[in-house]
Symmetry: C2
Subunit: 198 residues, 2 copies
DNA sequence: TTGATTTCTTGCCATTTGGCAAGGGCCGGA
DNA sequence: TCCGGCCCTTGCCAAATGGCAAGAAATCAA
């Protein structure tokens, strides 16, 4: 129940003191999600800024054929949010869904704006988060453009090994931009390579 | 020389009045770029928020093999900016280069922050720009993940036909995530399809 | 203008990835 | 316990894309 991780998150950019972080964190309410529960449905307007303590949230959109495409995977310590819907008050193009039971902290748009108004240092933090998210997307984009599927898989394994264990292969596949059978083959090849290396 | 386009840009989100937009635009200085001139070099910290009136700016990074990869293309009416470097005051991972002679308006980080401080409506505008940029990246990411190269090419043709005419094929190719010979073939196939349709 | 450079196209073939379908294993509910 | 439904793997072949290199075409600079 403690807001430890949330407070630490606010301090992570070095833009505020421990006391400030604790004050801001006090404005957040505890929030649970059951496995398979939706945090946000496509078409709705997001009104919940959700920081994830533990568990995994998946974001997905539908392609032209109506197939789900995983666009984001969030684990503990991250904010699971459809940024454009939340900040622009527009219908979300994606659904956010709990892949496992989740615990975290949330705050509404009005409350967040109140904090932004009252606390310039938190405003700075918010901007820096947006910028960080932008960099992450850029990095993923570059990877999709220039790396082979095998390299992208390996990069994800390095960056977030826990996701590979806990997220069903079909979701990982569309997140990486490959089909599930291709990913299965990649995984087999990687395992073979690792075995030979030992 | 008129700041018309800049003023219109500020008003485009509906977050401020004409008078406010004109006031803010007055803080920007005219800025020219000669063809092939760098607006920002990789490794440097960006200190110029640059709005493009006319011309084309290309952003590129280097891949592991030292090859240039085009990560962004900006035409008139857009802001050509490496967001993370400018806002986080960190070395830029990319170079921004004028593909043609360019005219526009620019402002420094300190000046921009001054405006953000003095004018809450401009702060809102800045946030909404970041969010918009994020959505654009998400859309490109989704396209790379699920669409074929032919579809991506067609989408770019629909969205920004002027780029296809004025940007060398090799830059378009890496922007679209294909090799230049593949793009050349795609273009040939598209032309053939169009001819048959007529 | 003229020569040099860049840009674009195209052929040939290799590699990567997709599509489809069958089958095995695992897990949860009745 | 047993059944039904995911989840994952794998074989076969097709389609998409890349790599390389040669040459034509356009562009640039002197």
């Amino acid at each position: 129940m403690a807001r430890q991780q949330l407070i630490q998150f606010f301090q992570s950019t070095g833009l505020m003191s421990a006391a400030q972080a604790a004050d801001i964190a006090a404005g957040f309410a505890p929030r649970q999600l059951a496995r398979h529960e939706d945090l946000l449905r496509a078409g709705r307007i997001s009104d919940e800024y959700f920081f994830l303590d533990s568990g995994i949230v998946r974001a997905f959109a539908l392609d032209a054929a109506g197939q789900e495409v995983t666009t984001g995977l969030y684990a503990g310590g991250q904010v699971a949010l459809e940024v454009s819907s939340f900040f622009n008050r527009t219908p979300s193009p994606e659904t956010l869904q709990a892949l496992t039971d989740c615990q975290g902290w949330s705050i509404t748009y009005a409350q967040l704006n109140g904090l932004f108004h009252a606390r310039p240092e938190f405003r700075e933090f918010g901007r820096s988060l947006l910028v960080r998210e932008l960099m992450r997307l850029k990095t993923r984009l570059l990877g999709l453009a220039i790396d082979s599927a095998a390299v992208r898989y390996e990069a994800l394994r390095q960056a977030s090994p826990e996701l590979l264990q806990r997220v069903p292969l079909k979701y990982l596949a569309s997140y990486l931009g490959v089909t599930d059978s291709s990913l299965s083959r990649l995984r087999a090849a990687a395992a073979k390579g690792a075995a030979e290396a030992s």
